[in-house]
Symmetry: C2
Subunit: 211 residues, 2 copies
DNA sequence: GCTAGTGTCTACCACCGTTAGAAAACTTGG
DNA sequence: CCAAGTTTTCTAACGGTGGTAGACACTAGC
């Protein structure tokens, strides 16, 4: 008997489809929670995930092809959540930076997985739509920060990449205890970078190198 | 009989100590090679590592407490190699950026492990000496790029953190196919960031936020 | 040659991802 | 309301994993 969810799957076709969706989501959530509790996805086990929602291990394979597929789903799910948050925030670099930072603080292991799981490319057609949404929302914020400078140099994409890279690098280093002043300092540095994007000189130097 | 190394361990105490050191290094190298060949450290197995140097699995535990310890050693080893390369290069940001980039290109999985393995902090006393050496060499390059601006604001450390974070973020994103123009573009952006560090306005904006 | 001690291996443990196949529960059509 | 057929779910198993125990072989030093 299931402990975590809405009971076994039964009912007419429509009900069953809904119940299946719910169970899938529950499995995803279980994997996520397990990772945060156990401080890492290495500890996330098919058996434990199934157990947490009150099922035996093989049920997982009714919803995901294999473990990699499950983790992949956790990642795209994470980008969807992040995109929702970016959407809800003001379209400014500072706000976007805050959203990304807070996300990493709240779910550090999911954040880490989102950026370390192989086979989740961005440029290709296999890119999750949620990830593309994240990039576009971030781009809107970056472009809004210095519209005059980037508009002419055609390089909103590069500026967004750079800003994302700076934020992600700072988060990675800070969360691994590699920034000298600790997390607070890293957070301050990120804010500093964000506001610096607004100054013309910075934007100039960014766009100078590649036209 | 060992395939990969210098024969079984025997001889007088001095010889034995040397042979043990060699075997330890061989195990480390085997783990590294296996990861690059198999495209990831998930595929690195105690048995495979031992096999590659011609031994049975339990030998590994004569040199490392457990798998985590082995990977930890791979990481500190990686920082030592990176530090050596930084030391050999010119003390400029451009050269430092090139060194880090090339390292990531040549051994992407070791590079990734160096930044993703938990329990390898920087600030604390448990920080590997090789990692500290990397940071100091990088700091020297960054400081040399804009000596007047950073000297007065006491923030060489922060500037180094930011540059390292930018480089690392760019590498991570680029190698996961997440930078719009591909790796070449990411490489160009990194160079652009490096040279931008030289312009006073950039240095100003960096140091402005935190005094 | 013998003794200590080191190096190394085989055999095993619990657990992992994953699959096969049977059993149970249910919907559906009459 | 019952039989047929579908779907859900489980137990059992396979090979491989990290890790340990204990036996065996060999070597150094006397």
């Amino acid at each position: 008997m299931p402990r975590g969810g809405a009971g076994r799957i039964k009912g007419s076709q429509g009900e069953r489809a809904r119940a299946r969706k719910e169970l899938r989501a529950a499995l995803l959530a279980a994997a996520r929670e397990l990772a945060e509790e156990s401080q890492g996805f290495e500890a996330v086990t098919i058996r434990k995930v199934a157990d947490r929602v009150g099922y035996a291990a093989p049920v997982v394979y009714e919803y995901f092809a294999n473990k990699r597929d499950l983790l992949h789903a956790v990642v795209t799910n994470g980008f969807a959540d992040l995109a929702d948050r970016l959407d809800a925030a003001e379209p400014t670099v500072e706000a976007a930076a805050a959203v990304v930072w807070d996300f990493a603080v709240e779910e550090p292991y999911r954040y880490h997985l989102m950026h370390s799981l192989a086979d989740v490319p961005f440029g290709t057609s296999g890119t999750p739509a949620s990830a593309v949404r994240c990039f576009e929302l971030l781009k809107a914020a970056v472009t809004a920060a210095a519209p005059d400078h980037f508009a002419s140099t055609v390089d909103d994409d590069a500026a967004t990449d750079l800003f994302w890279a700076q934020a992600h690098g700072l988060i990675t280093l800070a969360f691994n205890g590699r920034v000298k002043g600790g997390r607070e300092r890293a957070r301050a540095l990120l804010d500093c970078v964000a506001t610096a994007l607004r100054t013309p000189s910075q934007a100039d130097s960014l766009s100078r190198g590649h036209e």
